[in-house]
């Protein structure tokens, strides 16, 4: 089989590997198991179902897969995105006739990773006293209500007693 033209991104390859595995491994003949395999590799909620073109009942004789077209959706997490792919496998005469991988629009973003979205990093940022800078507003965590302050005081008192 020839899948390389469909696999343009190294990041997508990891996701595909799990799905292809189900095609190659004997003894797991149901679409449900295919689902489980894709899920294990993907960590999301893939689904697999025989496509509309699945043939009706023509077995290849070896007791593994029926001929037909199988489609599985998979997703896997990268640091910045969830990559989704759809793999369509066509079986004919018990062997893989065609593999089609679609849906990697986010892969290009993934390659750029999050560095693209961060302008800079510094470990040297230090604070300046607020009364030495000219600001009319200060933004930090929200000031809490009297109710919250009282609740904190209450649990402190109870912890101390």
């Amino acid at each position: 089989m020839n899948i390389s033209p469909s696999v343009r991104h190294g990041s997508a390859l990891a996701g595909i590997a799990g799905v292809l595995l189900l095609v190659g491994c004997a003894g797991s003949p149901t679409a449900n198991e295919a689902e489980g395999t894709a899920g294990a590799g993907a960590g999301s909620t893939p689904s697999a179902s025989p496509g509309p073109s699945a043939s009706s009942g023509s077995s290849n004789g070896s007791g593994t897969y029926k001929d037909g077209t199988y489609t599985a959706d998979g997703s896997y997490r990268t640091p910045e995105t969830v990559e989704k792919i759809t793999v369509t496998v066509t079986l004919a005469g018990g062997v893989v006739d065609k593999v089609q991988v679609t849906g990697d629009p986010q892969a290009r973003e993934t390659e750029r990773y999050q560095g693209q979205f961060i302008g800079g990093i510094s470990e040297l940022v230090v604070g300046k006293p607020l009364d030495q800078i000219s600001v009319s507003k200060v933004a930090g965590s929200s000031l809490t209500s009297q109710g919250f302050t009282q609740a904190i005081e209450k649990i402190r008192t109870e912890a101390a007693s």
């Binding site: 510094s122 940022v125 230090v126 507003k137 929200s142 809490t144 109710g147 609740a151």
Partner: protein, 288 residues
């Protein structure tokens, strides 16, 4: 410009508000603001038993759609997608279990994840807001920003053009520029930088004040019910306070920088180890 009138300071929705305008706020202005805040609180506060979300939590079902449901929940859907589910509008029970409950018990009963499939549990449309399984809606990631936008828009329409609406951490500015200090999350007497806002909104979020118990605070990862540990404070600058609030929350998680980039939000954040990061177009001046 004229000397600004003293800001109107009051407490509402569990925090302190300050509204400053180039001209005095009339009694009618204040009534209008109070009515907006009260209406929002009656709908979305999980800290009052008579609110819409509290009644839904007690008895799941369908209610007439609150006015803010669609803009807020649409944005929540984007936030959830961008953060891989770390942000989730059904995180209310997770927060309550850690002690951030209606009674403010601050008693930890352990982590519990929010419903991961919240999109099937919660539906919103012009026909209604429908909760189909027991859960507690919590719009804490963006609700205050939304309310700041509502108050800001109402006062603008009442003729206040030089306006600062500050709900402590979320502020919207129109008219003259305002210089805002970025409060150090570990020392409130310090600023780590300053940013000048002109016709923009800024939201800050940090884990230092709404904190209790053993390292517990109000920013939870909805996937686990555990408080975030890597980011101490975030600041986001956007065209609306709701969007800034959303980004300030997203920036506690992986996916936050990409979300901000996609939404045109500039930001600064500090990790719990003290490192500061900022967006490529950040207008903040940082002190280093």
């Amino acid at each position: 410009m004229d000397a600004p009138a003293p800001p109107w300071r009051f407490e509402a929705i569990g925090t302190v508000w300050e509204i400053g305008s180039g001209r005095p706020l009339s009694a009618e202005d204040r009534d209008a603001v109070a009515a907006i805040i009260d209406g929002f609180d009656r709908t979305w506060s999980r800290f009052r038993p008579d609110s819409v979300v509290s009644r839904l939590a007690a008895s799941p079902g369908s209610v007439p759609p609150p006015g803010d449901a669609t803009p807020m929940l649409d944005l929540y859907a984007e936030l959830a997608e961008a953060t891989g589910g770390a942000v989730n509008p059904l995180v209310g029970e997770s927060l309550a279990r850690r002690g951030y409950d209606a009674a403010l018990s601050l008693r930890d009963r352990g982590p519990v994840a929010a419903p991961a499939d919240w999109r099937s549990a919660l539906a919103w449309s012009p026909d209604g807001l429908v909760l189909s399984e027991p859960a507690t809606i919590d719009v804490g990631a963006i609700g205050k920003g939304r309310l700041v936008d509502l108050v800001h828009a109402a006062l603008r329409s009442r003729g206040h053009t030089a306006l600062v609406v500050d709900a402590s951490g979320d502020l919207a500015v129109s008219g003259p520029a305002v210089r805002v200090g970025l409060e150090h999350p570990y020392d409130p007497t310090l600023a780590i930088g300053v940013v000048e806002l002109r016709d923009r909104a800024l939201c800050a979020s940090a884990v230092n004040r709404r904190a209790w118990g053993d390292g517990l605070h109000h920013v939870l990862d909805a996937r686990t019910g555990e408080p975030v540990r890597t980011i101490a404070a975030t600041w986001a600058i956007a065209s609306s306070a709701m969007l800034a609030d959303a980004a300030a929350t997203a920036l506690f998680f992986d996916g936050g920088p990409a979300f901000a980039h996609a939404q045109g939000v500039e930001w600064v954040r500090m990790t719990t180890s003290g490192t500061v990061e900022w967006s490529p177009g950040s207008p903040a001046e940082l002190f280093g």
